[in-house]
Amino acid sequence: MKIIIVGAGKVGYTLAENLSKDNNYDVTVIDKDDDALAKVEENLDVLCIKGNGVSASILMEAEIVNSDLIIAVTGSDEINMLCCLTAKKLGVKKAVARVRNPEYSQELSIIKDQIGLDYVINPEFAAAEEIARSMGFSSAINVENFAKGRVRMVDLIVNDEMGLDGKSLADIDKESKSTVLIGVIVRNNEVLVPNGSTVIQKNDHIYAIGNPSSIYSFCKYHGKNPDKIKNVIIVGGGRITFYLYKLLVGMGINTKIIEINGDRCHELADVLPNALIINDDGSDEGVLKSENIDTVDGFIAVTGIDEVNIMSSLIAKNFKVKKVITKVSRTNYDNIVNHLGLDTVISPKEITTNYILKYVRGKSIESLHRIVDGQAEVIEFVVDKNSDLIDKPLKNIKMVPNTIIATIVRRKEVVVPHGKDVIKAGDRIIVITKQQKISTPSELISKVNGGLQNELLNGIKKLGDIINM
C-alpha cells in the first residue's frame, strides 16, 4: 500500500514512524521545510520529497497516480483540503485531511462531499471527547469504550489502597469474583500481556476490561470508587476548550474557563454565551485560589504551552484536586511527565495518529486503541462467517504469541472467554496483542505449524530476528 503524507510536523512524523514500521506500507513524506524533512529522512525508512504538497507536479513526483492514500496534516486546514482535492483529481484512491477549525467542522459533510474527502480528523474535537470520557469515570486514568459502549476498558494505577499489590491475577479473580479481565500491565513503560500467574506490583498500570457495570463494581471493590465530578476548571481557551465545554455541560458539570489572552476570551464569550470565562493567568496559584481550586474536583490544563499545562496541573495536584488532566503535545516529555505524578496525560498528536492508523488499517477493524506508543494494541473486530476462528473452542485455536481474546460480545451479552468458549459468526471480539500488524481476524491464527514450506519461512524469519536483535 502506497501512502503519501503531506506535512512532516508532529502528527506527520508520528504517522510516518508508525506506518513505516509495517512492511506493507510504502510511505512518502512531502514538506516544504528542509529541517523537518531532514529529521524524517534521518530517522525513518521513508522517501522524502521537498515541495508544496498542493502542487500537482510535486504530487506527481510522489507517484500520486499509483498511491492508495494521501494524508494531509500540514498546519493549515485550507492547504490540507486543497491538497486532498488536487490529489483526488490526480487519481489517488483515498484522501484523509486534518481539519481543525470549528467553523469548518460544522460544515464537514458539505466539505467532505465537495472535495471528495474520505475521512476528516479533527484532533481538538477528538481530544475533547477523550477528556470528557475520562471525566465521566474519575478514578481511571483513561477510559476507552468498545462495541458501542457495551465493553469498557479502564486504565488504573495500582496503589496501596487497592490491595492488589503482590497478588497474582488468578488470586484477584477468586477474591473479587468479578468478570473483569486484566488484559495489559504496563510496568516502567514496558507492556506485559499477563496470564493467571502474573503478580501485580505497586505503581503498575493495569488495564481492566469488561462490561461497564462489572468494571464499575471492580473499581468500587478495590477502592477506586468513581465519584461523580461536579465542578471543573479548564485552563486555556483554545479549540479543545470550545468543544470540551459543550461536552462537559452536556454531562451536567459546572465548568469555569481561565484564559490569559483577553481577545480570545471575547471570542470564546461570543461562541459560548453561557460560559463563565475568566481573563487571567491559569498557572498563577493566587488566581487559582481565588477561583476556589480547593473545592473543584476536576482540573483540565489545555493551553498551547506544555510547560504551563504541566505547572498548573502540579498546582492543582497540590490542592488535592481529584481528577487532573494535562495536555502535553510534545512526546519528548513523556519520561519526565510519568515521574511527575500527573495521572491523565492527553496528547492530541497521539489521538490523531490513532484515529488515522485505525482508518489506514482497514475496514475489518472496528476500533483501535494503542498503549504506550503502540507497544500493545487493543483491537475490536467483527468476525464474519468465513473466518477460521468461528465454532471452535478457543483452546483449540493456536494464536500468534502475546495475544489474547479479551472479550466476546454477542448481541447484548459480554463474555470474558475461557478455553471452552466458542466464537460465533457475527460476534465482536476484542483482542489485546503485542503484535503490530494485525488488521484482520484471520491474522490472529498462528501459522507456525504445518508444512515444510512454512517451517522454512519461519526459519528465515527467526534468522532475521536474530540478525536484527
Binding site: N43, D45, I467
Partner: protein
C-alpha cells in the same frame, strides 16, 4: 557511538563476504588450483568471527549518523583485509601488504595491481579479484541491505556513507527495495555483457572477468596485456559501451524503466558526461592520428576505448597509451580527476560535483560585478541548497589535499614525477593504471610497502568519498 550495533553490522558484513567467496571457491575447486585451501581457511575465519558477533544483543538499536560512517569505513577496511587473505594463504602473493593492496584495489574498483605476471595466478584468485570489483562497484553494504530479511531506518546512514555522489537518495520509499532495484539493474547489465562478450568470441571465464571489471568500473584483467591481448574489435566496443553505461547515474535507469525516457536525456549531469567524453575523444584522435597510428579508424578506436575506460575509472587498455604524445596523456590524466556520474559505479570527483563547482564559481564572479545581487545555483531546474554547495567545495578541497600529501609521501621512493602524480591520481580516483612506471603495461609492485599502504588508503578514501575514512582519525568520533 553505538559500539554494539556497529560490531553487529560488521559481523553481518563478514558473513556476507564469506558467502561472496563461495563462487571463487567453486572456481578454485573446478580448476584444481593451489588456492582451494586458502579460500576454505578464509571462509572459516570469516564465518567464525561473523557468527560470534551475532550473539551481541545491543540495547539501543538505533544507528546514528556517525555509526553509519563507522560501519562503512571500518567495514571496508575489514572486508579488504579478509579479502586479501586468499592471496596471502595461497602463497600467490607472499607479502601481506601486497595482498592487502590487491584486495583494496579490487573492492574499491580501482584495478591497480602489484602482480607482474597475472597469467601465473591460480584461476580461483583471478576470479575472486574480479568478483570483488563487482561487489564493490555497487557497494558491499548495499548488497547486505538487499539480501537481509528486514532492516531498520538507521541503515539509510550506511547507504549515505557508502554511495557515491553529494546527495545519495532512495529510489522508492523502502531502503531495502531501493537496494534490490539497484542490484537488479546492475545484474541485468552484467548478464547482458557476459552474453555479448561470449558471443564476440571470448571464453565464458574471460567474459565473466571482463564483465565484472567493466560494470564495476574496476579494471582487473586476467591477461598482462589487458584487452589488447585479444585484438578483438567487437569485444572492445562491447566493453566501451558497458563501461560508459555504468558511469551513468543508476537512478536514471530506474526513471527510464518507469517509462520516463525523456528524463534520461534531459539530465544535466548526463549531458556534461557525454560532452566531456566526445570532446576528449576528438582531441585525442586528432593528436594521435598520424603520430602513433596511421589510420583514422585505428586512432578513433583506441582513443574512444581509452577515453571511456579512463573517465569511467575502469582502466582497461587496448594499447599502451603511455607511448602516446604528451597532449593525449595530459587529457587522460585530467579525465582521471573527472570520473563518472554521481550514483554510478565509477569513482573520482564525479561530473555532478565539478558541474556544481563550476556554477558556484560563475556565481562568485557575478557577485563581484553586482555585489548586492542574489543568485541561486540551479541544477535540473531546482535550487541547490547552500549546504550542498559548501559540502561539494569542501569535498574538492579535501580531495586535492589528500592528493598532494599522498604525492609527497610516495615521492620518498625516488620515482619520477609523472609516475608519482599519476599513481596517486589513479588510486585516489579508483582508476587503475597511471602513466610512466605504473602505466598500462607496468605495475605497482616496485613501490615500497609504505607507499603501497598510502595508496591503499587513497583507494579507500576515493571509494568512500573521503569523509568516512577521515572520521576514523578524529578523536571526537570515538568518544561516547
Amino acid at each position: 557511538m553505538n559500539y554494539s550495533m556497529v560490531l553487529k553490522n560488521l559481523g553481518i558484513l563478514l558473513i556476507c563476504e564469506a558467502l561472496a567467496m563461495i563462487p571463487s571457491l567453486g572456481v578454485a575447486i573446478g580448476t584444481k588450483g593451489k588456492d582451494e585451501a586458502a579460500f576454505l581457511y578464509t571462509i572459516a575465519i570469516l564465518l567464525f568471527l561473523g557468527i560470534c558477533t551475532l550473539f551481541i544483543k545491543p540495547k539501543n538499536k538505533t544507528i546514528y549518523g556517525r555509526d553509519g560512517f563507522a560501519i562503512a569505513s571500518i567495514g571496508w577496511i575489514l572486508a579488504s583485509f579478509f579479502g586479501a587473505l586468499p592471496f596471502y594463504f595461497s602463497g600467490a602473493v607472499p607479502s601481506l601488504v601486497d595482498s592487502f593492496f590487491e584486495a583494496v584495489s579490487g573492492f574499491t574498483t580501482t584495478g591497480s595491481s602489484i602482480i607482474t605476471n597475472v597469467e601465473a595466478l591460480p584461476q580461483g584468485l583471478i576470479f575472486w579479484r574480479s568478483f570483488t570489483h563487482w561487489i564493490g562497484g555497487m557497494g558491499i553494504l548495499v548488497l547486505t541491505m538487499a539480501i537481509l530479511p528486514t532492516i531498520g531506518a538507521g541503515n539509510m546512514q550506511i547507504m549515505k556513507a557508502e554511495s557515491p555522489g553529494p546527495n545519495p537518495g532512495k529510489l522508492v520509499p523502502r531502503l531495502k527495495k531501493s537496494a534490490i532495484i539497484l542490484y537488479g539493474i546492475y545484474m541485468v547489465i552484467t548478464v547482458s555483457e557476459v552474453i555479448l562478450l561470449k558471443l564476440s568470441g571470448l571464453s565464458l571465464f574471460d567474459s565473466l572477468i571482463y564483465s565484472f571489471g567493466s560494470v564495476g568500473t574496476g579494471g582487473f584483467a586476467n591477461k598482462s596485456l589487458s584487452i589488447a591481448h585479444y585484438n578483438n574489435i567487437a569485444a572492445e566496443i562491447i566493453i566501451t559501451i558497458f563501461c560508459f553505461a555504468c558511469g551513468i547515474n543508476f537512478s536514471l535507469y530506474y526513471t527510464a524503466i518507469k517509462g520516463n525516457i525523456k528524463e534520461f536525456f534531459k539530465d544535466e549531469e548526463f549531458k556534461v558526461y557525454v560532452s566531456i567524453i566526445l570532446v576528449a575523444i576528438i582531441l585525442i584522435t586528432l593528436n594521435i592520428y598520424g603520430n602513433v597510428f596511421n589510420g583514422v579508424g585505428t586512432a578513433l578506436r583506441h582513443s574512444t576505448f581509452q577515453v571511456v575506460t579512463i573517465i569511467t575509472t575502469t582502466g582497461y587498455s587496448s594499447t599502451d597509451f603511455n607511448q602516446w604524445p604528451a597532449f593525449s596523456k595530459m587529457i587522460l590524466l585530467i579525465l582521471m580527476f573527472i570520473g563518472g556520474c554521481a550514483g554510478s559505479t565509477a569513482g573520482s570527483v564525479k561530473n555532478l560535483r565539478l558541474l556544481l563547482l563550476f556554477k558556484n564559481a560563475k556565481r562568485e564572479v557575478h557577485k563581484i560585478i553586482h555585489p548586492k545581487a542574489v543568485y541561486t545555483v540551479k541544477y535540473g531546474g531546482k535550487t541547490v541548497n547552500e549546504n550542498t554547495l559548501s559540502a561539494v567545495s569542501n569535498f574538492f578541497v579535501l580531495y586535492m589535499f589528500i592528493f598532494f600529501i599522498a604525492v609527497i609521501l610516495i615521492s620518498l621512493d625516488g620515482k619520477d614525477m609523472i609516475t608519482n602524480i599519476s599513481a596517486v591520481t589513479a588510486t585516489l580516483g579508483n582508476i587503475g593504471p597511471g602513466l610512466g612506471v605504473v602505466g598500462p603495461m607496468g605495475s605497482f609492485s616496485s613501490f615500497s610497502d609504505f607507499s603501497k599502504m598510502i595508496m591503499s588508503f587513497c583507494m579507500l578514501a576515493g571509494r568512500l568519498e573521503i569523509y568516512p575514512l577521515l572520521l576514523l582519525f578524529s578523536r571526537q568520533f570515538w568518544k561516547k
